[in-house]
């Protein structure tokens, strides 16, 4: 009897710890999401000076974006140092929603960005004056920062074609 009670208590403790762990993980992933303001993209390009990198834009309201996030999550898992910039075009007020989705696609441990200015037209312009706002949208920068863009779901084949590095 005592053993059974002890067993239940231990089980409960493990479950509580498990839940606490998940809760911590959620908070941690939300903390990895940073503000994307009008200057952020220029700063990111400076950080990647002389280096190739890929930008993926998504939103919590965009179903095709989930397919792309899935692919990117798997790529990141295979190559953790891959130079990937993931930006959500949702308001950073939706941080928790975005964190849940990123977590689902194994991208929660990455630093990512979310739009942090309600004047979204200006934020879009700072990334690419030629972008109409459609999602998913991706950019491929080579080491000289020559840029190619892609609208719609990015397949692994398309990715390799546009980013052969």
């Amino acid at each position: 009897m005592i053993n059974k009670r002890l067993g239940h208590a231990l089980l409960s403790a493990v479950l509580i710890l498990g839940v606490a762990d998940i809760a911590l993980a959620d908070n941690a992933s939300a903390d990895k999401i940073q503000d994307f303001g009008p200057q952020t993209f220029a700063q990111l390009k400076t950080q990647f000076a002389g280096k190739a990198f890929v930008v993926s834009l998504w939103s919590v309201d965009c179903a095709p974006c989930r397919v792309e996030l899935d692919m990117l999550g798997q790529m990141k898992k295979a190559a953790p140092d891959f130079p990937l910039v993931v930006i959500s075009t949702d308001s950073i007020e939706k941080r928790e929603d975005a964190a849940d989705i990123l977590d689902e696609y194994q991208l929660a441990d990455e630093i990512t960005w979310m739009f942090a200015d309600s004047f979204v037209e200006r934020l879009r312009f700072s990334i690419d004056p030629g972008w109409y706002g459609e999602l998913p949208r991706s950019y491929f920068y080579d080491a000289e920062h020559n840029m190619m863009s892609h609208s719609g779901i990015l397949t692994i084949e398309k990715f390799k074609e546009l980013f052969p590095y």
Partner: protein, 435 residues
């Protein structure tokens, strides 16, 4: 947390977006209060001159929790048969209705529509719709988001006591499924047929359950013959619509309507289709309305606009595409009989320009849209006096360098008006047919 949300709602009411930083919000709010009060003083002294004003100024003067059309999310407007203006908007998970006797200068205290809070969507493509029938019945539809998985329900409510109270909202999609039903449109014919049209994922879900592919979603509609007391069964218009764009509606004959929506053609070309719907569930004249060749497996969030032309079966339409044939905002006049567009023109090809709205009044066709020059957003206007054959040069009606909603055109028996909301100017209602 509650205070934070209310203040941030106040400062950033548009597109469901809020300020990122609570402390910054509160600081700005506190700093703005004395300034806004000073700015408001002349208006308070001469209330008859009350004009559009930012939500920030309204709440500085009237309290941080003020529900106002100037703080409302994604407002839309209509005139009743007495030319009284009615505006519906979303605030804090409720739909509200406010009236104006003086064409938008001053507004009545907002009346809450849904007593129980629900996640009513409010963004450029998804907003509460309002129509007032000739007998005074106030009709409303909106989409309520039910999860973060693109699910929602099409909601309907009405007032039969002149807008003093509203019936509890009902769900008009009749499949009972917790799936996607979103992007509703509402239309009342002159003969009293009330249509609700929306994007529906029931066929997508059924296909997925059979492990079959299903590009996009479907268009469904329902009709009420008694101003929303009851609705007929849902009818499918088309498979394979795009999932995320508003649907344009215009009258067709006495009882029918024509609708224009973004449709998936072939593999992933997202151009537009048109069809005529009847109250008894007949779908006719279904054909492709635009050939832009926009090959995109993505969510454009750019729906079209359409109004009847002077000849029966012809429609003025304007839409956005980034296709290889047409890129930017375009206008055309579409003839249902020949199933062909005429007088196609590029309205604005600037990236960032979008969201056109059309209206006709007294033989003149009006077209407004949202431009963007990298720093600010102008609301642009063009007129045509010859059914879209030729157009005036674009002129700027109003500009903002802050967040703004899509511009909408509203007509009464007296004129054409711009209905537009921005963080900087609050809700603006401005006559366009007076100059």
């Amino acid at each position: 947390m509650l205070t934070f949300h209310l203040i941030s709602d106040c400062l950033r009411p548009l597109h469901g977006r809020h300020l990122p930083d609570c402390i910054k919000t509160v600081r700005r709010f506190l700093l703005a209060t004395p300034l806004a009060l000073t700015a408001l003083l002349p208006a308070l002294l001469t209330p008859s001159l009350a004009q559009a004003q930012s939500c920030e100024a309204v709440r500085a003067a009237q309290g941080a929790e003020t529900i106002s059309v100037h703080c409302g999310g994604a407002p839309s407007a209509t005139f009743d048969h007495n030319n009284q203006l009615w505006v519906a908007f979303v605030a804090d998970k409720h739909v509200y209705v406010s009236r104006s006797q003086d064409q938008g200068n001053t507004f009545s205290d907002p009346v809450q529509v849904n007593a129980v809070a629900e996640d009513a969507e409010f963004n450029g493509e998804n907003r509460p719709k309002i129509i007032v029938a000739d007998n005074g019945t106030v009709l409303l539809s909106w989409t309520t988001k039910t999860s973060n998985r693109f699910t929602g329900e099409i909601r309907f409510s009405r007032s039969t006591d002149g807008g003093r109270s509203f019936e509890p909202p009902r769900t008009v999609n009749d499949d009972g499924l917790a799936i996607g039903h979103r992007f509703d449109s509402l239309f009342l014919t002159d003969t009293g047929k009330l249509y609700v049209i929306w994007i529906d994922k029931r066929d997508l879900e059924a296909s997925l359950a059979r492990s079959e592919d299903y590009p996009g979603a479907a268009i469904y509609y329902t009709v009420s013959d008694n101003l929303g007391a009851s609705f007929r069964p849902n009818v499918r218009v088309s498979h394979n619509s795009c999932e995320c764009c508003r649907i344009a509606v215009a009258p067709h004959g006495d009882n029918n309507i024509a609708i224009l929506w973004r449709q998936i053609f072939g593999d992933q070309i997202r151009d537009h289709a048109i069809a005529v719907l009847s109250p008894d569930g007949m779908v006719s004249d279904l054909s492709r309305a635009t050939v832009d060749d926009w090959q995109i497996d993505a969510c454009p969030h750019h729906g079209p606009t359409m109004v009847p032309a002077s000849s029966d079966g012809q429609y003025h339409m304007s839409w956005f595409s980034a296709g290889t044939i047409h890129s930017g905002i375009h206008y055309a006049r579409y003839d249902l009989a020949s199933a062909a567009p005429a007088d196609i023109i590029k309205v604005d090809g600037t990236p960032g320009a979008g969201h056109p709205s059309l209206a006709t009044f007294d033989g003149t066709l009006y077209l407004v849209w949202k431009g963007f020059d990298g720093m600010s957003t102008p609301v642009q206007l063009m007129r045509s006096h010859d059914e879209g054959h030729s157009w005036s040069a674009p002129q700027t009606v109003i500009t903002t360098d802050q967040a703004s909603d899509h511009p909408l055109l509203i007509t009464s028996s007296e004129g054409v008006f711009l209905s537009w909301s921005s963080q900087q100017h609050g809700y603006v209602f401005k006559e366009l047919s007076n100059d």
